[in-house]
């Protein structure tokens, strides 16, 4: 109950903060339009060169898949790595450790709160714009779509937070986590389908995207394809497996890390 109350307070406070300072929303919007827009223009051209179909997938499916990736990325869950590193480097972790809260859970809710306002606004307006410009693929009008989209979105968010928290927690052992962050982040981007929609992956790459935590954190990009209707429970199962496994890794890393905090002087 206390956790939920604190989580709600964090979300409310940060939404209020973002409303008061709307420049972040403007920056996020420009970022999505620029990155997603450029990719869609390029893919539109490539699909056109191939008579509108590549690997059995039409441009409409590719558009929505890529859009879901960028919409999810507006939450900026990846930034938790940098936040944890900053907490450790600046000593802010000491301040947070002296509070009656779970540091990691606080940091995770804080990360969700930081991006949720931009995420909701951008997703609503961009979805409406895409429906108006491109239309909806038939898979997105099926009854199973919305509930499974929400389910895989939540699982993907938890998995992303765990994945990037592990990278952040490495700051307790290594001075600069940026090289590790770069590798993980690029693995998520590529296997998540930001550069190339997952439906266009060669078979072995698709398997890696399916079975690795990097790809699993972005299964939201799979929801628009016809295969989702048959495989969604398998994919959500893979997400749950990684959530449990990475959750345990985060837990044990954090327990070790806490001992290091009490040893270092000031």
């Amino acid at each position: 109950m206390k956790e939920i109350r604190l989580a709600t307070k964090i979300l409310k406070t940060l939404v209020k903060d973002r409303i008061q300072y709307p420049d972040k929303l403007v920056v996020d919007t420009i970022g999505v339009i620029a990155r997603c827009g450029i990719l869609l223009i390029l893919y539109g051209y490539v699909f056109k060169l191939n008579d509108g179909v590549i690997n059995g997938t039409t441009f409409l499916f590719a558009v929505w898949s890529i859009f879901f990736y960028f919409s999810f990325s507006v939450l900026r869950l990846r930034d938790i790595s940098g936040e944890i590193m900053r907490d450790i480097q600046t000593g802010n972790i000491e301040v947070l450790f002296s509070k009656p809260i779970s540091y990691l859970s606080y940091r995770m809710w804080w990360q969700v709160g930081s991006g949720i306002y931009s995420f909701v606004i951008i997703t609503i307006f961009a979805t409406l714009a895409l429906i108006f410009i491109m239309g909806l693929p038939s898979t997105m009008t099926m009854s199973i779509f919305i509930p499974t989209l929400i389910l895989t979105f939540i699982c993907g968010a938890i998995l992303s937070l765990f994945l990037y928290s592990i990278v952040g927690l490495l700051s307790f052992w290594i001075e600069d986590i940026n090289p590790v962050f770069w590798i993980v982040d690029k693995a998520v981007m590529i296997l998540g389908g930001s550069y190339l929609p997952v439906a266009l992956f060669p078979a072995f790459m698709f398997k890696i995207a399916l079975w690795s935590p990097f790809g699993a954190s972005q299964f939201v990009t799979h929801t628009v394809y016809e295969t989702w209707q048959i495989n969604w429970y398998q994919l959500v199962g893979i997400q749950l497996f990684w959530i449990v496994l990475l959750g345990l890794v985060v837990y044990f890393m954090f327990e070790r890390a806490k001992q290091k905090v009490s040893v270092n002087g000031g």
């Binding site: 604190l6 964090i10 903060d17 802010n92 002296s98 000031g266």
Partner: protein
Amino acid sequence: MNSNSIIVSNLTKKFSFSVRNTSSGWLKNLFSPETKEIVAVNDISFSVKHGERIAFIGPNGAGKSTTIKMLTKDRKKLAYQIGTVFGQRSQLLPNLPLTDSLEFFGVMYDMPEKEIKKRIAELVELFDLDSFMTQPVRKLSLGQRMRAEVAASLIHKPKIILLDEPTIGLDVVAKKSLRDLLLKINKEENTTMFLTSHDVGDIESLCDRTIVINHGVVMRDLPTQDLAKTFVYEKYIDLVALSHFNNFPELPEGMSYSSRDKNKITVVVDINKMSVQESLKKLLDLFEVEDIDVYNADLETVIRHIYERDSTSN
């Protein structure tokens, strides 16, 4: 009922780290490095009574922060009873008005909404926060922000407040104002204060007891006012010239010049070697003076003496 807020018994902390052995190869250094052990805190024991104001001081690397971190190690249990103020780190929400930060901390400490509102009203009055409650925290002056930091750390009515360099960077007026406030909350809410600071003014004006730590060991634990008389065997004597001091003769053993010019001389007397009375007699034989002032070293000098003595004795 136990009258102690904190009881520390035989607290020890050792930590080890790898050291590179230049005579070994990189592979041996990587997989089987030599380790060096450091005793950061060595068998420390002390207790702190409810409402006491303690200064916990020592040179850099003495083990102060390690001790404090160990005191709060089981944080989840203790957190409700402890408030923390870090002079160099803000815990407030920078973009939002102070009210939001106070409400936020109230929720963090699991206080009911009604109680949060009541406590905020109390703190606003106690700390005179009303004039800047609606301003974003990042627009506050440093003095205002520190008052706000202390108020935020007291939202849950902690029994103990840990203050780490609370007045760092403040001007003299803001320093005094913050110290007065801290004394006020100690008096009105009987909050135990545990202060670490390099600012002697903080120690002098806030703390009635001082614990000096060095090399992980408690070197001194005594009332702050006794620091000077117990540990400094020096007196300072100012002599103001009747007209001008024209020459500065060599002083007898036990006395030395601290400063000298034609209008005023300051002499340091080692009271182990010479009494004040004797030194005054000798000085009056040597100089024609209009005024004399005898005084102890200030607390900063006292603390420096203790640190220097401790480091040479180790």
